[in-house]
Amino acid sequence: MIAQLAFVAVLGFFGYLLSRRILRIKKNIQLGKPQTIKDNPSERWKTMLLVAFGQKKMFKRILPAFFHFLIYIGFILINIEVLEIILDGLLGTHRLFAPFLGSFYTVLISFFEILAVLVIVACVVFLLRRNVAKVDRFHKIEMKGWPTLDGNLILVIETVLMIAILSMNAADQVLQDRGADHYTQTGEFLISGMMKPLFANIAYGGLVALERAAWWFHIVGIFAFAVYVTYSKHLHIFLAFPNTFYSRLEAKGKMNNMQEITNEVKIMLGMSTGEDAGAPPEGMKFGAKDINDLSWKNLMEAYSCTECGRCTSECPANLTGKKLSPRKIMMDTRDRLEDVGLDLQKGGKGLEDGKSLLDDYISREEINACTNCNACVEACPVNISPLEIILQLRRYVAMEESAAPQSWNMMFQNVETNFAPWKFAPSDRFKWADELKEK
């Protein structure tokens, strides 16, 4: 009974922390501008099934995709067992599902145990890739400090949780063999069955303590990890799904049209605006200087990024040593969101803290280096577009500040006066044909 109360308290505590964090993240994302994405739902479901559920784009790189898939499958399926653990905790039962499932229970848990081992193998491989093989994309400048620690912590926590579940099962089975009260007979599990010799010499009391400790460690570990995930790049495990659902379905080359400018241009050209567009709303700015100038979709993408760096490793600017890293664009956007969000939570000034995404987080040199080649967008396993943010920042610089690079301002001038980006006379435009005609 005490154990049940303790479990309810633990569940409530972590549930509170988790829901508070989820609400905070939701509010942060809602700092973004509204954007309606409702078109073509069938195509959207398909994209989500293929890209998030089916991990289609992960498989562009087979090796990491394979090991990532093991962790993914492990995560999804082992959670079925977590359901049983939570119910046991609440009801004071032990292995609630065992009597209902009979021998299938043994098969099921054995299958989960195989997955647990595969998850451990995958985590170890990933730790080696990050820390020993030094895969280049994990050691870019934006990965210094917390992002690297975060990546390693996640892998270590997952490994430890899997070891806990296997130890729990092994101790449980030794207790079953000794006919201990309360320990339902389940038959031998495939992996933990082999671990029994490790626990064979422990006395009854110690064994029960060990089994309970592993049980509590595992379940509290999962709750704590769930809260940790919301502060971590690991949030992709949930957000990959909505992120792919709401991803762009149009050609990658298409830039979003700015309707507010269309209205103004139409007025300038003396064309009817169709609807009564009126003057642009007070305080409206063109492009983005800070996170609240971006759309909620851009902001959700920042939370969906798991910092794998596939974008950066394919970025031509980054490959040739420029400051731009598409991954950093997403990380900076999230950092800004988190800073503003935490400040607001403390009753601070939030967005009015004198800082902005442009300049305080992302430099002009970075956004100026982008070739709009879409390599980052193509590479992202969850369809994030760092390019949209870059272009919105460029729009702010060019239109609100008229501070685009000097050569671009000259190009603008050429387009305006000569109708070509170069300084050639419009009357020379058709000269190329002369050579053909003269012959």
Partner: protein, 266 residues
């Protein structure tokens, strides 16, 4: 042999009450860039040869606005776009072909939001269609036999618009050996000029992007680097010059290669 080359403008055809099958959108590079003008001429020769009725806008054509938009100047882009749409709609244009992937992308994907709806194809797709329908029959002459060609994907054609096969099918029709670079198709490396980079110096770094890409192209051992974009043409040509390989390796557009195979260069 080019005495019969016709390059009608829309204005001329309209005066005669005629309409062409397709408008050839030449683009600024195709009109002014010395190197790319030869691509424009090669494509016009092909159009003449196959007997497709086409026209150009001539002096009525202006920048689509693409570089202004990518550099952040949405105002200028929309001014250009609206003006162009007025001209295109004035002539009741239905179908457009262009040899510039940037013009292609903008006309095809971005003009519809501003009321300009056209059937837009890139010249690689157009050439593929000509080959498929037998209007261009390459004899597989000795000229290209065994010649190694590598194709450099333009980002605005490839990733931006998923056109990967058409340019390759055109090259395959030449009976040459098509060799792929390490990074190609969806993973193709940019030439470095997209997103208005063509109109400013690169930011500080260790290397120029076009040099990195040229090195990849040279690694294939190809003696021709085929391109399908005026900016790629400039960047790859500069790269080859930088590597002092301009004697051994040619950078050519698809239309130039087809015109060459058809014996239209003269």
């Amino acid at each position: 042999m080019s005495e019969n080359i016709q390059i009608p403008t829309m204005a001329e055809l309209a005066a005669k009450g005629e309409k062409p099958e397709v408008l050839f959108w030449v683009g600024c590079a195709g009109s002014y860039d010395d190197r790319y003008k030869s691509v424009t001429r090669a494509f016009v020769k092909i159009l003449n040869k196959v007997g497709i009725t086409f026209a150009v806008l001539g002096e009525e054509e202006t920048c689509t606005g693409d570089p202004a938009r990518r550099a952040g100047n949405e105002f200028l882009f929309q001014m250009q776009a609206m003006a162009n749409i007025q001209v295109l709609d004035g002539y009741e244009i239905k179908k457009i072909v262009t040899a510039c992937p940037h013009c292609f992308n903008t006309l095809k994907n971005e003009y519809p939001d501003l009321g300009g709806n056209y059937d837009v194809v890139h010249h690689s797709q157009f050439l593929q269609e000509l080959i498929n329908t037998g209007k261009v029959t390459l004899k597989g002459g000795g000229e290209f036999k065994g010649r190694k060609i590598t194709y450099h994907d333009s980002c605005f054609l490839g990733r931006a618009n998923n056109v990967y096969e058409a340019p390759r099918k055109v090259l395959e029709a030449l009976d040459a050996v098509l060799v792929e670079m390490k990074r190609c198709k969806t993973k193709g490396l940019c030439c470095g000029a997209g997103g208005a980079q063509m109109f400013k110096d690169a930011e500080n770094g260790k290397k120029e992007i076009n040099i990195e890409r040229t090195e990849e192209a040279l690694e294939t051992g190809a003696n021709t680097i085929a391109v399908a974009c005026p900016f790629c043409m400039t960047m790859m040509s500069d790269g080859v010059k930088n590597k002092e390989k301009e004697g051994a390796v040619k950078v050519q557009d698809l239309a130039e290669l087809i015109a060459e195979a058809e014996g239209l260069n003269g």
